[in-house]
Subunit: 341 residues, 2 copies
C-alpha cells in the first residue's frame, strides 16, 4: 500500500516536493494545487501531475484552457497526507480543513512550531517523530544548521553554537523583494529566531544566531562557530563531514569556487534545475582551535528541505524505522550523491 | 609652527583626508597629488587645494586647462609629513621616495604592517606611537573593530572576540568591481586577516574573524561576539557605548532604520557628503548573556579612518600627549557629534 500524498501549493518548494514524491516507490502523488492559471500550472500539467484548484477558480482555469482534476477539497479527500507548501502562515489557516478530511499533515518552516506535533529534521529527530499526526519541516536555514550540528553532535558532541546567517534577499524569481543595495539587519534585535528554531528540534542546545539579508538570490551563507564536547583534530572533523550524508564537503581553492554564484554555476552544470539539496560545507574554511570549530557553509534555499519532506512522510506512516533507512531510500530515489562530480 | 602635510592620492580616502587636514589649526595642507586630469582634479582645484602631478604628466594637465602647483617631488619637498592615500600596496613602492625627502609618513590599511613603524588606532595605542617616524592607519574594518574592542576593553576588559564581517563589495563609484549576485567567501580560508590586523594594534588578543563580500556599496556590517573579563549588565555595556567617542549608538527600531541603506539615508540628510566617520553600533542588537556580548555594527568604509589619519599626524609630531587630547581636537574640528540628530 502506497501512501497517497497531495502537495498543496506548487511554488518554489511545492514543485520540488511534488517531483520528489513522484520518485518514491512507497508514495503516490495524488496531485498538486494551484490558485492561478500561470506558468506554474503549465509546468504541473506538462509533468502529468493532476491539477486541483479552488472551487471558485474552476471556471478561470477552464477558460484558460486547463484540464483540471477537481477541487482542492477533492484532492484532500483522496489523500492520506498533505504536504502544505503554501506561503508562510497560510498553512496554519488551512489546518482545520486538513483535519476535517482526517489527513496527516506536513508543514514548512514558515509556519509557527505550534502548527504541528513536532518540528522535524531527519538527521536529528526522525525516530522521535514516528507515527505522529503532523510535522513541521524546519526552514532552509534551520535545516542547514541542523544537518551540521547533528552530524558533529553524533561524532564529538556539540556544546555551543554561535552563527551569523548571511541570507539571500529573495529567490531568483521574486522580482518584488529587496534589498537591492543594502545589508539589512534581519532583525536588528539579537539573537535572531533561527537559533530558537534549531531548539525546536534540539531542545536545550546553547545556540545564538544573528542574521542579515543581502542583495543576492542564490544561496544563504552561514558563518558558524561551534564548541565541541570532545577534543577533535581538523582531520577528525573533515572526516566526519566527508562521511556525512546530505553534506557536500567542497574545497573552494581546489575547485576555484569561492562564492555562492560559482557554487550555483557548478550545480547548473551538473544538477537538474541547478538544485543542491545537500548542505555545502567549505572545506578550506574548516578551522579547529582547541574545541572550537569555525567554518562557512552554504544553503540552497529552494531545495535543501526537499529530502526532509519525503522523510517526514515516512516518519508519519512509519515507513522506515530509522533515520538512516529513510535517508538512504530518499537520497537514492532523488539521485543525491553528496558530491558535484 | 604648523605641521606641513601633503596628501599623496586624491581618491576616496585622500579627498576626505585633505578636507580634514585643511580644518585643523595645527596643520597646513601643502597640496594634493593627482595623476589624471579628471573630475577629482576639478574637485581639488575648486576647493583651492594646490595640485601636484607626476613630472611626465605636467603637459597633459596643462593641456586640459589645469593650473598646477608643481610636481609630486616638489610637493614632498615642501612637506613635513606625507599622508599616503594611494591604492593598496602602492604606498610601499613610494616609501623610498618619501624617505629621500626626509618625510614622516602615514600609510593606509591596504599596505602591509611592515610598511611603517607601527599600526595605529587612536583609541587603542595613540600614546605608544608618539614621536615615531611612520604609522599605518589600519583599514576601515579593523578601525571599526578596534573602536568597539578598545572602548569595551577599557571598561570591562575583553577576553575574546569572534566576528563575521559582511563587507560591501565595492565603493559607490567603483563600477568595475563585483559581486553583482553572489556572497563571496572573502577568503574561503579561516580565520580571515582582519583579526590578525586587529592584533597589529592589540598584540596577543584572542580574536578570530571570517568575512564575506556581498553586492552592496554602502557600509560594512560586523556581527560581533565578545567575551568580557568582568561581568557587566546590558545597561553597563550600553552606557559605555553611549559615552564612548566616535561611536553612534543607534536604535534601529526607534529610528525605523534597519539596514545600511537606511543608515546612509539618515547620513545624506544630515552630514556633508553623507559621511559617517563614527562607528555605528545598533543599540537593539546589543545582547548580554553571561560575560558574552553580541551586537551588530556598521562601518562607513569611505570615511571611518579619516579622524585616525589626523590623529596619526599629531602622534608623529607629538602635537597632543594623549588620545583624548587629539581626539577632542580632531572631532571638534571635523564637527563630529557621535549622533545623527
Amino acid at each position: 500500500m502506497k501512501v497517497k500524498v497531495s502537495v498543496n501549493g506548487f511554488g518554489t518548494i511545492g514543485k520540488r516536493v511534488a517531483d520528489a514524491v513522484s520518485k518514491q516507490d512507497d508514495m503516490v502523488l495524488v496531485g498538486v494545487s494551484k490558485t492561478k492559471p500561470d506558468y506554474g500550472a503549465l509546468l504541473a500539467v506538462s509533468k502529468g501531475y493532476k491539477l486541483f484548484v479552488p472551487e471558485e477558480k474552476t471556471e478561470t482555469f477552464e477558460k484558460a484552457g486547463f484540464k483540471i482534476a477537481g477541487t482542492i477539497a477533492e484532492m484532500l479527500e483522496k489523500s492520506d497526507v498533505v504536504i502544505d507548501a503554501l506561503p508562510g502562515k497560510k498553512g496554519a489557516e488551512m489546518k482545520p480543513l486538513y483535519e476535517k478530511y482526517g489527513l496527516k499533515q506536513i508543514f514548512q518552516g514558515g509556519e509557527k512550531p505550534s502548527v504541528a506535533d513536532a518540528s522535524f529534521s531527519t538527521l536529528c529527530n526522525y525516530e522521535k517523530t514516528l507515527g505522529l499526526n503532523s510535522l513541521r519541516v524546519v526552514s532552509c536555514n534551520t535545516t542547514g544548521l541542523l544537518r551540521l550540528i547533528c552530524t558533529l553532535n553524533r561524532e564529538f558532541g556539540v556544546e555551543k553554537v554561535r552563527a551569523t546567517l548571511i541570507r539571500r534577499g529573495a529567490d531568483p524569481r521574486e522580482v518584488k523583494k529587496g534589498p537591492i543595495n543594502a545589508i539589512v539587519f534581519n532583525p536588528p534585535t539579537l539573537p535572531s529566531h533561527h537559533g530558537e528554531d534549531v531548539k525546536t528540534v534540539m531542545e536545550g542546545l546553547d545556540i545564538m544566531t544573528s542574521a542579515v539579508a543581502v542583495p543576492t538570490t542564490l544561496m544563504h551563507v552561514h558563518s558558524v562557530q561551534l564548541v565541541l564536547r570532545k577534543q577533535a583534530s581538523r582531520t577528525d572533523v573533515l572526516d566526519a563531514l566527508e562521511r556525512a550524508p546530505r553534506i557536500i564537503l567542497m574545497n573552494a581553492g581546489d575547485m576555484g569556487v569561492k562564492s555562492t554564484a560559482e557554487i550555483m554555476e557548478v550545480a547548473r552544470d551538473t544538477r537538474f534545475r541547478g538544485d543542491i539539496p545537500e548542505l555545502v560545507v567549505v572545506e578550506d574554511s574548516v578551522t579547529v582551535h582547541g574545541r572550537e570549530v569555525m567554518l562557512f557553509q552554504a544553503v540552497h534555499q529552494e531545495s535543501i528541505v526537499v529530502p526532509e519532506n519525503i522523510d517526514a512522510v515516512r516518519a508519519l506512516f512509519e515507513l522506515a524505522n530509522t533515520w538512516r533507512e529513510t535517508l538512504e531510500k530518499t537520497d537514492k530515489n532523488l539521485g543525491l550523491t553528496y558530491r558535484f562530480y
